[in-house]
Amino acid sequence: MRHLIDIMDLSVGEINDMIERAKDIIENPADYCEKCKGRKLATLFFEPSTRTRLSFEAAMYELGGNVLGFSEAQSSSAAKGESVADTIRTVGAYADIIAMRHPKEGAPVVAAAKSTVPVINAGDGGHNHPTQTLTDLLTISREKGRLNSMTVGLCGDLKFGRTVHSLIAAMSRYENVKFVLISPEELKIPEYLKQEILIKNNMTFVETGDLESAMPQLDILYMTRVQRERFFNEQDYLRLKDSYILTPDKLENAKADLSILHPLPRVNEISVAVDDDPRARYFEQVRNGKFIRMALILKLLEEAEQREEQ
């Protein structure tokens, strides 16, 4: 059974195909409105989420399918102590595909090992969030018309930010991509990611604490939130949370065709005054999330069907 646990489970070719399919869905929505008729998606959210859960549900509805599930662990048998493996086996009896978010890292690996239907990791703690990365890649592809030959600035929490880690890993497979890693000293990208992805793949990257001086060279600026839930120490969170706040004046030296992205939710790291700037693309990014999830659901269901036929 094919699952999506980590963005690196997908080849570059598969990602490119899904991006093309998502673009086709945007262009021709009527062609897809009954593709999943009679199929059910289970959204198992052991941790709260707005965008990811709703975009999965909207994606399935737009494909003509149905949705069942829960939006917090308290309303599931997990509250009674049921294991992930047992929950997954139970849900597999009712649904054709599962999107799961869990606060513990590696929970989707456990789920996939026991599931009889495809499992999509919709986020496991601070670990992986592959559908956000697919969303980011579709957005960059739509904005720039390519995924190679560009300078990508990643700003904020690069230490705990799972979306940042996955995006770096995914974009390291495209040619001539340069990364500018902008963060306070305490939230720099982990050493193992630097060694095992950036250095191993001979990527060009610079680390800096200065957003404004990095700005003029960027084609993409990927802002992130400093996440309270990733800190064990509240004092550290309070000290670091306002490290970078993007305001219109900081964009004065930016390229005219810069695209500003953010996985959302934001707190205050992008001033609302930036929202009206045509370079602010984070709400378009949200829309793209639904389309790439439609492409992903279709891909996994089609592969599961092919396997059944064999």
Partner: protein
């Protein structure tokens, strides 16, 4: 320092200095009721210093655990006071059951029955990562 010869048993030699106690713990040698000698910082031509463990009984030993702690260890099987076999160890691709994931956010911290499994992700540097959360496993 003189440690007596053994008749039937095992000698784990060429243990990286400082790792003998860790290996002793991982292999559960404290549970044996036979004589076990742990020699720390012995002279070594090859490594200058090394640790050695002598076990005065032929036991089933977890080769994967030895390969994980230090693949340069040699396992000498002694029978009738003589060397019967010498085994060189390789780093196992996967290990399970004798070390635990230390990441407090890992799924293994809440699901007690899950086996703690790790996969070799960098042979050159001897890096093992949890198969669930991908946290790096530290030997020491």
């Amino acid at each position: 320092m003189i440690i007596g010869k053994i008749e039937n048993g095992l000698v784990l030699d060429h243990i990286r200095a400082g790792y003998g106690m860790k290996l002793y713990e991982i292999l559960g040698l404290d549970k044996l009721d036979c004589q076990v000698a742990l020699i720390k910082n012995a002279d070594s031509v090859k490594y200058e210093r090394k640790d050695i463990i002598k076990i005065d009984r032929m036991i089933d030993i977890n080769i994967d655990a030895i390969g994980f702690v230090d693949p340069n260890i040699t396992v000498n099987y002694i029978e009738g006071g003589k060397l019967a076999k010498r085994t060189h160890i390789d780093m196992p691709e996967e290990i399970e059951g004798f070390v635990r994931c230390k990441n407090p956010r890992c799924i293994t911290t809440v699901e007690q029955e899950l086996p703690h499994r790790f996969r070799l992700t960098d042979r050159e540097k001897g890096v093992y990562r949890c198969v669930y959360c991908e946290s790096k496993l530290e030997v020491k």
